[in-house]
């Protein structure tokens, strides 16, 4: 994104002319259109510094290549809890997302009238997970709501009709998933 730097102050405190300003900031738009480099005496002189304290400031600015592993604490202020259930504990398993969050989402469609809770990354016996969640939600709501579910075995996701995101997340965290 090439942005031209505009210099509003024509004169500096010490009185350096405008020509020097424009020379400092001349930036060619592409490698091909830029002139071939000349002898180094034509350009500003510099000193090379490889001090490790200064380089620490540079390294701080570079992004990480991988998502860091989270802590094992269960009492974090944001309410996030790590996954404690081991694979094989239940007949099913719900993997966390790459950001270590619960894969429970609310899908809103039909101009807000259709709300579906979707649980992704389901491994193992997805039908048993469906039964378990349905049983839990029916116990919570009694006869007031119909809990309709859709199981997509190939993709590994489970959809529940209605907005039950917080309850499903609670249930999953209780199980340690």
């Amino acid at each position: 994104m090439a942005v031209r730097i505009l210099f509003k102050n024509a004169m500096l405190r010490s009185g350096i002319s405008l020509r020097l300003n424009s020379l400092i900031y001349k930036r060619d738009s592409s490698y091909r259109s830029s002139p071939i480099a000349q002898d180094s005496s034509c350009y500003a002189k510099y000193e090379v510094s490889s001090s490790p304290e200064e380089w620490k400031f540079v390294e701080r600015l570079l992004p990480l290549t991988t998502i860091p592993t989270p802590s094992d604490r269960k009492d974090l202020p944001s309410g996030w809890q790590p996954q404690t259930a081991t694979f094989g504990k239940y007949p099913y398993f719900v993997h966390r997302t790459r950001n270590h969050m619960l894969p429970v989402y609310l899908k809103v469609s039909m101009r807000g009238t259709r709300r579906i809770t979707q649980i992704n990354n389901v491994d193992g016996n997805i039908w048993m997970l469906e039964e378990a969640i349905k049983k839990y939600l029916m116990r919570v709501y009694g006869d007031k709501k119909i809990i309709a579910t859709k199981v997509h075995e190939v993709c590994g996701h489970l959809c529940i009709h209605g907005d039950h995101v917080s309850r499903v997340k609670e249930w999953l965290l209780k199980k340690g998933l």
Partner: protein, 293 residues
């Protein structure tokens, strides 16, 4: 290892023929073939009726009412959003998200946090091309915020400032012009260009008051006034103001950028060479003075 991920599904494949190019298939309904209707249903005039401009792909412009004043021109305009596309925008970042980022080790709170740190997590993004001028830290989740941080944002409201200072942290609002912003949100890309770090520009006329006021913790404000405002805010929100002088992280909490500095610890005029891991600094006294002004 009796059980492994995707065991059912993978074991099904053990008993099926070898997967090859000739026995692949997409999911039903994944690809919809656009088939032109033929014969009685869907054919003949293909839903365009008889003659007219609609059948001949020669439409009148939308809203045109064959000459009389169209509906959309009958009433006077009320320009509620006039020049909205020109105004500065500060996309919000809630304190809940910030707390989550801290809890999941995406942000290192032992160092000062600024926009570059937030963008490097990959969880928050700014697009200066859409007139985004920085991050606006909003007070959603202020009650559950429990982290002692030194954060530099571009806009913050009173409850947010209170939430951060209550936990012994420090918040500063500072301005970045468009060029500095592009550099700050992707420092690696900028260093790869091989250009000297430029000086940050002073805020424009309509922003300078905001960034000079101590109530907003502006970077141009008088530090004494800021410490007075901290005291006042603690009284207003009813918490005991923690003494940061006694804090072991005092140096980190108090570290601030100069008004012309874009990055912590790196001065304008320096060229960072990522490949050789060195920094090139100008020697010329005129240049040095220029970059220090």
């Amino acid at each position: 290892m009796t059980s492994f991920t995707n065991k059912y599904v993978l074991n099904l494949l053990r008993n099926l023929p070898r997967l090859s190019i000739s026995n692949l298939r997409n999911n039903d309904g994944a690809v919809k073939k656009n088939k032109r209707g033929r014969a009685q249903h869907g054919g003949d005039k293909h839903g365009h009726g008889n003659k007219g401009s609609k059948a001949r792909q020669n439409f009148m412009r939308p809203g045109y009412e064959t000459g009389n004043t169209p509906f959309y021109m009958k009433f006077p305009r009320e320009q509620y959003y006039k020049d909205h596309h020109v105004k500065r925008q500060y996309p919000p970042l809630s304190l809940t998200t910030l707390q989550k980022m801290i809890d999941l080790n995406r942000i290192d709170i032992s160092k000062p946090i600024d926009l570059s740190v937030l963008c490097n997590t990959g969880l928050y993004n700014i697009n200066p091309e859409d007139k985004h001028f920085g991050v606006n830290l909003i007070d959603e989740g202020a009650d559950n915020f429990k982290a002692k941080i030194n954060v530099e944002v571009q806009w913050a409201s009173e409850p947010t400032i209170a939430a951060i200072e209550r936990n012994g942290g420090v918040i500063t609002t500072s301005f970045f012009d468009v060029n500095s912003l592009f550099i700050l949100i992707n420092p690696k890309k900028f260093f790869q260009r091989g250009e000297a770090i430029p000086r940050r520009m002073i805020p424009p006329d309509d922003a300078i008051l905001y960034y000079s006021s101590a109530a907003n913790r502006g970077y141009l404000a008088d530090p004494e006034k800021i410490s007075w405002e901290r005291f006042v805010l603690a009284q207003k929100y009813g918490y005991k103001l923690p003494k940061i002088e006694d804090d072991p992280d005092y140096d980190m909490l108090v570290s601030r950028k100069d008004q012309r500095q874009i990055f912590y610890g790196l001065e304008p005029g320096w060229v960072v060479n990522l490949k050789d891991k060195v920094i090139l600094k100008p020697i010329d006294p005129q240049l040095k003075e220029f970059y220090r002004s």
